[in-house]
Symmetry: C2
């Protein structure tokens, strides 16, 4: 069964209103009332689809995460030299991905948002690393793959956090080079 056009319209209006509001104020300060007024959607309708503003944001989040997964499909051309260490070389496409959606990631990394967004990001990176690690590096080694991938995924995200703190002043390319250097220490 296809989606009702009315549902599509309301969801679209709400998403656009949210994006508009996020350019002015932080996610947690956006009330359901003002969102619905801007989107010209009845407040009751909002509650029929989402319980809170955060749920609406998460829907957008998932489309961004899809791009992140897709970016891993890209050829590994720039990062061959990383294969020497046990981190998936494609991992570092993440910096380009973050750069591409900088506005979005300024929200995801902002203090006030719930930890759940970070976890969603963490999940994606961890899974991408998990696949690679289990295939290439841990043959015959008896160790919890979830732990190894959690370690490596979050290390990368640590750089992303610091990058955000430094107001994304470095380019994605610089961040890649930085990662290579850290891995070689």
């Amino acid at each position: 069964m296809k989606t009702d056009m009315r549902v599509f319209k309301t969801k679209d209006a709400l998403r656009k209103a949210l994006m508009h509001l996020l350019e002015q104020k932080s996610l947690n300060s956006i009330s359901v009332t003002e969102l619905c007024q801007l989107a010209k959607v009845n407040r009751g309708t909002f509650y029929a689809h989402y319980g809170q503003v955060e749920n609406l944001f998460e829907e957008y989040f998932k489309t961004i995460m899809k791009d992140l997964a897709d970016s891993y499909q890209e050829p590994y051309k720039h990062v061959q030299h990383l294969l020497s260490r046990n981190v998936n070389p494609s991992t570092i496409r993440i910096f380009h991905h973050i750069e591409k959606y900088e506005t979005f990631y300024r929200i995801v990394f902002s203090k006030t948002v719930p930890l759940s967004y970070y976890y969603l990001l963490f999940d994606h990176v961890q899974n991408l690393i998990k696949t690679d690690v289990s295939e290439h590096y841990l043959n015959g080694i008896d160790i919890d793959i979830s732990m190894v991938s959690a370690y490596q995924a979050n290390a990368i995200l640590g750089l992303a956090i610091e990058w955000h703190r430094q107001d994304f002043k470095q380019s994605a390319e610089e961040m890649n080079r930085l990662l290579v250097r850290i891995l070689s220490i």
Copy 2:
């Protein structure tokens, strides 16, 4: 100037009420109203000290962070063999610290809390690592110490996140051994 006894009493009552409520429900579901009713403190008084329930929690958070810093002063007896890699061996006292305050960290790592708590934890670990890294490992190497420490601090926290996900089923001692193994891969 010393603190007014009235202020101490109200803050104490609020802190105790919060701790009591946190054993039953999640932080973000605790309303100012019910907290004040339990603490027998006027709602207006709450707002005179804290703007929201989260601010009260953060005050408690800081006392826990103090314990984390203190735990780093402990002798490095169990972790000498970690010195071979560029991670502060004292770092792994963190697992014992988390184990000690498990109830508390179940909140800090829960999805619904703001990312700011994670950042406060991250900050502490990063600073502890930063000091050590700059002193022992990066002599003459030109690299952003904040980035290196962010990478290493968050890697450790990645293990903590995964530990939380697996419901803290491992002991702190096991987590230490796991870290040693990961570093040796």
